[in-house]
């Protein structure tokens, strides 16, 4: 098991502005870590989709509920976790947006995009409740997995 060399944890409000905030945070980390512009775009968009999922489907836009957003960076990869306080869900039950009968649906593509854009993607339903989306992207060759020489930041 690799110990994270850098970890940022942010508690987000269940509001639409949190989507841009989370994307902005991860984009800054991507730039510092040396991801290409294209990979940074994919990571940023995946985070956007994960927070939309937590805000809209998980917490049902209930301002009393929070979203825990975590970014971990080590020498190998960046891992993003988005935990909501909703009822949780089984990812296998999410309809395939590529199937003919779902092509013209106006929603339901977020999970697909995260899977397509990231190297790893899983959904956990922790015993403490909620759904936790965990996704990771491998660092590019020459990437910087140790932004400040280690440490742990916490924001809220």
């Amino acid at each position: 098991m690799t110990t994270p060399s850098h970890r940022i944890e942010v508690t987000l409000e269940s509001m639409i502005e949190s989507v841009d905030l989370a994307e902005g945070i991860v984009m800054r980390i991507c730039e510092a870590a040396g991801f290409t512009e294209e990979d940074s775009h994919k990571i940023g968009m995946s985070v956007r989709e994960a927070v939309i999922n937590a805000y809209h489907y998980g917490n049902r836009e209930d301002r009393a509920k929070k979203i825990l957003f975590t970014v971990e960076l080590n020498a190998e990869k960046m891992t993003v976790r988005v935990l909501d306080q909703g009822p949780g869900f089984e990812v296998e039950e999410v309809p395939d947006p590529l199937s003919e009968e779902n092509l013209l649906r106006t929603s339901g593509r977020g999970i697909f995009l995260m899977r397509a854009f990231m190297d790893e993607f899983v959904v956990n339903n922790p015993p403490t409740g909620g759904a936790e989306l965990v996704m990771a992207k491998r660092l590019p060759v020459g990437g910087n997995g140790n932004l400040s020489g280690g440490g742990r930041d916490k924001e809220s």
């Binding site: 639409i16 989507v19 989709e49 590529l98 013209l104 929603s107 593509r109 995009l113």
Partner: protein, 115 residues
């Protein structure tokens, strides 16, 4: 506001020039309202110029799909023009590239609508 949209008319086609990002919130609502207004005014030929749109999220995709079906169900046509590479990639991986009529030249696009 992350999205700007202006409407003009050419050859009987309503052309909406968008610039910015089509994402969840005000931007996707703007797309919805502009399409609703054009449809309410009887416009059946709509061309969305996305040449200056470099970012669309899943909510934005949903809004484009909704616009497409709304116009089609009303007996009209909605086409997309000048897609950026990122938007093309997005529509291709979501299998929507072949659902939409995607055009690359405005003049050709205007004349591709049914009379």
């Amino acid at each position: 506001m992350t999205l700007h949209g202006t409407c003009r008319e050419s050859g009987g086609v309503a052309i909406v020039d968008f610039s910015g990002k089509i994402t969840l919130g005000e931007a996707s609502a703007m797309v919805r309202n502009m399409i609703k207004e054009l449809s309410a005014n009887g416009q059946k030929k709509i061309l969305l110029n996305l040449g200056d749109v470099d970012y669309i999220d899943s909510a934005g995709i949903g809004e484009l799909v909704s616009a497409f079906t709304t116009v089609r169900n009303g007996g009209g046509e909605l086409k997309l023009l000048n897609l950026t590479k990122r938007v093309v990639d997005l529509l291709q991986i979501t299998r929507l590239y072949t659902v939409f009529d995607v055009q690359t030249e405005e003049w050709t696009a205007i004349h591709s609508f049914k009379p």
